[in-house]
């Protein structure tokens, strides 16, 4: 991959995905005036009407903000990736995954139906798995992809359960209706389970502590993926969900404390971890965690300040973080390294990248006149508006903001203006396709900072309306709000942050020492997965021994447990009633019992088979005496064939009681009596309930008049329930073919060796 190839991209087709994304962006952009005027757009198609599922999409302030971020940043990232991965053998695959992910994400934020929401949620998980694992030839790439899949996939299971409960509690699957049912839902008995399950899904997706560990690992993906998935979009899916559910579920103590604590811990923890990193991308990954924590923190609250802060910071963060990721990708592309210690002096060589990174970093650090400053002021105002614990929340925000400032310096100042390091490649400025993203995104951060009203009317106010239901709560975005407590906190942030930047090396060493003691959750994840695999091995070794007797035992123990548990739960007790017992019945029963006892006692296999035949013939007699000749004939024929089959196989079977083997009969007897007893009790219970004769009556009446047959059994088999019969005979064919394949299959080497030995011995 040389520079020329890089500049050419992947030919005209390479620009197709970016064009597609741009069209989507334009489409969403055209909706801005409608949404800004306080309306919303809803499109709905029947999908599975019998189950109340519809393919419904809703565009309101919140979803439009997300949709614009997704399609807009998607356009820039696809344009960037076309050059970043120019000439890559799997560029087509990459573009496909990325576009599929973008569409899934758009579906997620636009879905207005719980089930539809879940489907898109899972689609984002799957496509991000493919994207993180794009470098699947490396061990690290595979592990990271699987880890992300498992953590978010496990969360998604809880999420699905939560959605189903929510749908049941609300009585509708329409999100737009559920959102308006807040009071009802908060008072509902299922509120707590719903909340816990939904939060499990949102926290794993948005990498909140303690599920944060997969996100830094996911940086194994190519940089455009990181910029797209792990800054602007996928990780925000959890935040989106929390925001979407905010009107319906927020306002309780559980909601407030869970989100506040998880958000605050994640924000502080992540910003500390971020400072510790020596890889630019890893440092940015942890600042993303910090942003997600902060967003979660604000969604815990109800105040207008917190909601405005949420909406603003959401946009601010997406703009500067995607810009910085793309700039870091450009550095990586140009120099071949992302190690902070090796980079330096890139400013004069890559002036445009340096400028874009600086603007984005100033926004991230929260300096005026950039949008980040407004975001930060609002964050402080929002934090101080928390009625119960303003100091705690404001403290967490202050600390994480100061750390952000230090990290912004490390990422955007040092590589460009620090002393030149020993870089693997001679650096060069990135081509325009790779500059477009950082420059446009950074410029937007500056533009919205200077003209905040643009953003306010188009996106922030509609988003807050989605969250609170009215425009009254919206706070104004402005650069200069006078001398107030947020401004003082901002100044404190600058002082602390700059101090941290200057003393970053001693600070990092201290952190290294401190964190040596803390358990690393990533390692715990490995331990858990290893334990899971060990458990699976143990289960397989215990249940699947390869011996028929053990398989039967497992099957019957399971059946017995299920039956016994069912009887205990249902409270079934056997009721013996011998009235109406006639002599023939008693005689047949005695016949069967004798056969069964003989089969159990005998030590000769032929005798055992014959005795089993006796019980079978006894059953046939029962059928005959109760007027079911078809069943009786079938039973007799099957018995006959079984004897033939077993006789054919008899010579190959081991002895009933192999020498040197402990006597298994007592245990088998207990199991057999248990299963038999349980089935008897169930049969008695079934017989005790009055028989519903509606079907019998129908078949008796319809058999002749509609199907021209007098043998009801046969008419049911070949006419009324012919589809069932067809399924059964298909199974018969498949099973016999499979059994035949096993019987005629060439013996394995071990078996052949045994056979050879036997022959030699003979």
């Amino acid at each position: 991959m040389n520079d020329r190839a890089g500049a050419r991209g992947n030919g005209p087709l390479g620009l197709l995905p970016a064009t597609f994304a741009l069209l989507l962006f334009a489409g969403f952009f055209s909706l801005v005036p409608t949404i800004a005027s306080g309306e919303f757009v809803r499109v709905s198609l029947d999908w599975a009407p019998s189950m109340g599922i519809e393919a419904a999409f809703l565009v309101d302030g919140l979803s439009l903000t997300f949709a614009l971020l997704i399609s807009g940043i998607g356009t820039l990232v696809l344009l960037y990736a076309n050059t970043y991965l120019a000439g890559h053998a799997h560029w087509g695959r990459f573009a496909l995954f990325l576009v599929a992910f973008m569409l899934a994400m758009l579906g997620l934020v636009l879905a207005d139906d719980l089930i539809l929401l879940f489907i898109f949620w899972e689609l984002t998980t799957l496509t991000s798995y493919l994207l993180i694992g794009f470098s699947h030839t490396t061990e690290k790439g595979r592990r990271s992809a699987l880890q992300a899949l498992f953590v978010t996939g496990a969360g998604a299971l809880a999420f699905l359960a939560g959605l189903i409960l929510l749908g049941a509690a609300a009585g509708t699957a329409r999100l737009s209706e559920i959102v308006g049912m807040g009071d009802e839902l908060r008072a509902h008995a299922l509120y707590l389970p719903i909340l816990i399950l939904l939060l499990a899904g949102a926290f794993t997706k948005s990498a909140q502590w303690p599920f944060h560990f997969w996100l830094p690992n996911a940086m194994a993906a190519p940089t455009p993926v990181s910029a797209f998935l792990h800054s602007a979009t996928m990780v925000k899916a959890g935040v989106y969900l929390l925001a979407r559910m905010h009107p319906a579920l927020s306002g309780t103590d559980v909601w407030f404390w869970t989100l506040t604590i998880a958000g605050a811990v994640t924000a502080v923890f992540a910003s500390v971890m971020s400072l510790r990193q020596s890889d630019l991308k890893q440092a940015l990954a942890y600042t993303t965690l910090m942003a997600l924590g902060t967003l979660t923190l604000f969604l815990g609250q109800d105040s207008g300040y917190a909601m405005t802060a949420f909406a603003t910071f959401l946009i601010v963060h997406s703009l500067y973080k995607a810009a910085l990721f793309l700039a870091v990708g450009a550095i990586d592309h140009a120099t071949g390294t992302r190690e902070i210690g090796l980079l330096g002096g890139l400013g004069p060589v890559m002036p445009i990248t340096a400028l874009a990174a600086a603007v984005a970093a100033l926004s991230m650090a929260g300096f005026p006149p950039f949008l980040g400053f407004i975001g930060k002021e609002l964050k402080y105002a929002g934090a101080l508006a928390v009625a119960s614990v303003p100091v705690l929340v404001a403290g967490a925000v202050l600390l994480s903001n100061a750390l952000m400032l230090a990290v912004a310096g490390i990422v955007a100042l040092r590589p460009f203006w620090g002393p030149a390091g020993a870089m693997p490649r001679k650096p060069h400025e990135a081509p325009w396709q790779m500059l477009a993203g950082p420059v446009i995104l950074a410029a937007l951060g500056a533009l919205f900072g200077i003209y905040p009203a643009l953003l306010q009317t188009s996106l922030v106010t509609p988003t807050v309306i989605s969250l609170t239901g009215s425009a009254d709560e919206v706070k104004e975005l402005k650069l200069w709000a006078g001398v107030n407590l947020p401004l003082l906190l901002s100044i404190a942030t600058y002082v602390i942050g700059i101090a941290m930047y200057i003393w970053r090396d001693p600070l990092r060493r201290a952190l290294e020492r401190a964190f040596a003691q803390v358990p690393v959750l990533d390692r715990e994840y490995d331990r858990f997965m290893a334990g899971l695999a060990g458990f699976a091995r143990w289960v397989s070794a215990t249940v699947q021994t390869g011996r028929l007797r053990d398989y039967l035992r497992v099957t019957f123990v399971t059946a017995l447990t299920a039956l016994a548990a069912g009887m205990l739960v249902a409270g079934i007790s056997p009721q013996l009633d011998f009235t109406g017992l006639v002599g023939t019945d008693a005689a047949i029963a005695a016949f069967i019992v004798v056969g069964a006892l003989l089969a159990a006692i005998t030590r000769v296999r032929v005798a055992a088979i014959a005795a089993l035949g006796v019980t079978g013939i006894g059953s046939a007699l029962v059928f005959i005496s109760y007027g079911a000749p078809d069943v009786a004939i079938t039973q007799l024929l099957v018995e006959t064939l079984v004897v033939v089959l077993v006789a054919a196989a008899l010579l190959q079977l081991p002895l009933l009681d192999a020498p040197g083997e402990s006597d298994h009969r007592p245990a088998d007897a207990v199991l057999a009596i248990g299963v038999g007893g349980a089935v008897t009790v169930v049969m008695l219970a079934v017989l005790a309930t009055p028989l519903d004769r509606r079907l019998s009556t129908f078949f008796e009446a319809a058999s002749w008049s509609e199907a021209f047959g007098r043998n009801i059994v046969n008419v049911i088999l070949v006419d009324f329930r012919a589809l069932d019969t067809f399924g059964e005979i298909a199974v018969v064919v498949i099973a016999t073919l499979a059994a035949r394949a096993l019987l005629v299959a060439p013996r394995t080497k071990a078996e052949t060796d045994v056979g050879v030995q036997k022959e030699a011995a003979e």
């Binding site: 064939l641 196989a649 046969n714 070949v718 019969t725 064919v733 016999t736």
Partner: protein, 139 residues
């Protein structure tokens, strides 16, 4: 099993059993019987033949392999099920043709239901023989 008596008796019994199995199949719609029982009965005939004269002879007498018969039966049943769909009825619906029907008698009733049952017969017949032959030959 090398027994002249068994072999001589088998010749008669096999033909009787096969005849009986077809009888069971055809009467099944109104009296005890049907494809399933018929198929099993027919299979016992050939099982007897295999025991008396060996599976090699039995396979030759059968001409087609039992696997082919079973799969053919499945195909016939499927055709009988799909045929009503071709004439605009719902699949699996029984279509009836009463040949020579008069006021007092239904004549000769022919139906897709009977074809379906013949498919069941062949599946059971072929499936059972597949297993028995393979088992006999494996031992």
């Amino acid at each position: 099993m090398n027994s002249i008596i068994l072999r001589a008796g088998t010749r008669v019994l096999v033909s009787l059993l096969l005849l009986f199995s077809v009888y069971m199949l055809l009467r099944g719609h109104n009296q005890p019987g049907g494809g399933f029982i018929g198929g099993l009965t027919g299979a016992t005939g050939f099982v007897l033949y295999a025991i008396a004269c060996g599976t090699k002879d039995a396979r030759e007498a059968l001409r087609l392999t039992p696997e082919t018969i079973a799969m053919g039966g499945l195909g016939i049943a499927l055709a009988a099920a799909l045929l009503p769909g071709l004439v605009g009825e719902s699949f699996f619906k029984g279509l009836w043709l009463f040949l020579g029907a008069t006021e007092g008698s239904k004549g000769l009733p022919l139906s897709t239901v009977l074809v379906f049952d013949i498919g069941v017969y062949l599946v059971v017949f072929g499936g059972t023989l597949t297993l028995v032959f393979a088992l006999e030959e494996a031992v």
